[in-house]
Amino acid sequence: MVINYWDKEHETLDKQALKKLQLRRLKDTVEAALKTPFYKSRLCKAGIKSCDDITCIEDLKKIPFTTKDDLRECYPQGLLAVGLEGVVRIHTSSGTTGTPTVIYHTREDINRWTDLVARCIIATGVNQGDIFQNMMSYGMFTGGLGLHYGAERVGLTVIPIGSGNTKRQIQLMHDFKTTLVHATPSYLLHIYSKLEESGFSIKDLVLKKAYLGAEPYSENTRKKIEELFAIDAYNSYGLSEMNGPGVAFECLYKCGMHVWEDAYLLEVIDPKTAVELGADKEGEIVFTTLTREATPLLRYRTRDLAFIYKGECKCQRSHRRLSRITGRTDDMLIVNGVNLYPSQIEEVIMRIPEVGTNYQIYLEKEGSLDKLVVKVEIYSKMFKGDLAELDNLRDRIKDELRAAVIINPVVELHEPGNLPVFEGKAKRVLDMRQKL
């Protein structure tokens, strides 16, 4: 396999040199953070008055965690470390779940972010000559712009269509011979389900690769996408607090996402005790920015759950690999007293070939009990015209779910295209219990 690098020196830096670089950059970040009102008081309380109080990388542990709530409280300017005249871009979160949060970027912040995304693109074997259709939203959502800048830097031919407008997406994929797309897995599956209706078949496309991200999904969903489109799909991980995409990305070997550790200090902690966990142990991901000027963040608790893979990757990159996000500390559902992550349900239903490209998890009260309804669209090519076959399918899904999540669900079969479609992040869980 031919391995290409965007920044070979940094991507293959040996552990010792990487640690040294991290320490230098951590000190710079602490220095920058001390210029913000929030960190000035927070760090002083922890006994850190200047970057000289950080003498080794283990001193990181002296720094308190930063949480999403801290970011909300600091809105709009409490975490700004440079003068506003030095800021070239602002990204805020939607604020649908509370006060918005904001991340500022200097010109150099954007430049470094772009380089990190370029690393990701090159790591997947994509290069100049590839036609890249970016199906992620542009605007305040960082997914669209982040990949766009990186792709242009690498020299891909970029089609900046953004999300939505499925028929036009398919038409452009065909007309411009798109070889690479960036989309949420749910939207890509939706595109597949609309091919026939749009007058195309999979043979009319020359797609080779897809970047998946922006929402949790299972390994079976990735496999399904790879099989349906006959492509390679790569996992991407990013969050707006850490710029957006370009934090961690899979290389050609598709065995975990390399976290660019010269730009982000990575910790995985037990979400309850905050104790750091070793490799292979699932916990909450915590990041410290190492190269950001306008909005330095120290030990930011992402609330995303994952683990770090043991061992080295065949691609020679020294940066450690993160597993897919298995859930969020805050998306756990409690159904009749049983803990349940939506990803567990997805894992089960996406391995059943008769299941189509969309599903929904619906929770309601039935008397005093919780009722879990899993609505799945059937895969039209699997339909042979038999009612008994459909009844069997429903029972099979039900049995497999019960075995996996220890909850007895109601399974509903739906026609493809009849469950709500999401062009950006999918909202698969409808919890109606609070409203009753």
Binding site: K194, I378, G385, L387, L390, D391, E412, L413, E415, N418
Partner: protein
């Protein structure tokens, strides 16, 4: 001779059956026989039409889940005991009927019934041997 039935998966949702029928109507596809098998929240619509392949193509283009199924249509004496005499043949020969329904029209004084067998070829052999008239494609088109 086997006939081809169009099977459509339908959610139990208002107006869905109407959508199928009006779509077929607009495309000049004539329904000769139909039945609906239903479960709690979904059903399967079974149709015998003059142009089954085209019907499935049109339905799929509009995102309906549709497929083709082999069925056998036979003429049955339109008098008390007519159906029983046919079923007796199946019973004796160990032929299993998965489901059945009737045609609206007929082209002689006999009624037409549609059968879905788990082994249609075996069923056709036995019906022929018992001199039961099997309805062919041409007969359906002539109705």
């Amino acid at each position: 001779m086997k006939l081809t039935q169009v099977s459509v998966f339908l959610e139990n949702k208002k107006g869905r059956l109407f959508e199928v029928c009006s779509l077929l109507g607009k495309n000049k596809i004539n329904i000769r026989a139909l039945s609906v098998a239903e479960s709690e929240e979904f059903g399967v619509l079974r149709l015998v039409v003059n142009k089954p392949q085209e019907a499935v193509r049109i339905l799929k283009k509009r995102s309906f889940v549709a497929s083709l199924t082999d069925i056998v249509a036979v003429e049955v004496e339109d008098k008390p005991g007519g159906l029983a005499s046919i079923l007796k043949i199946f019973d004796k020969s160990n032929i299993n009927v998965e489901y059945m329904y009737g045609f609206v029209e007929k082209f002689s004084d006999k009624a037409i019934l549609v059968f879905r067998f788990d082994d249609p070829d075996k069923a056709i052999g036995i019906l022929t041997r018992n001199k039961v008239n099997i309805v062919g494609k041409k007969d359906v088109l002539s109705l």
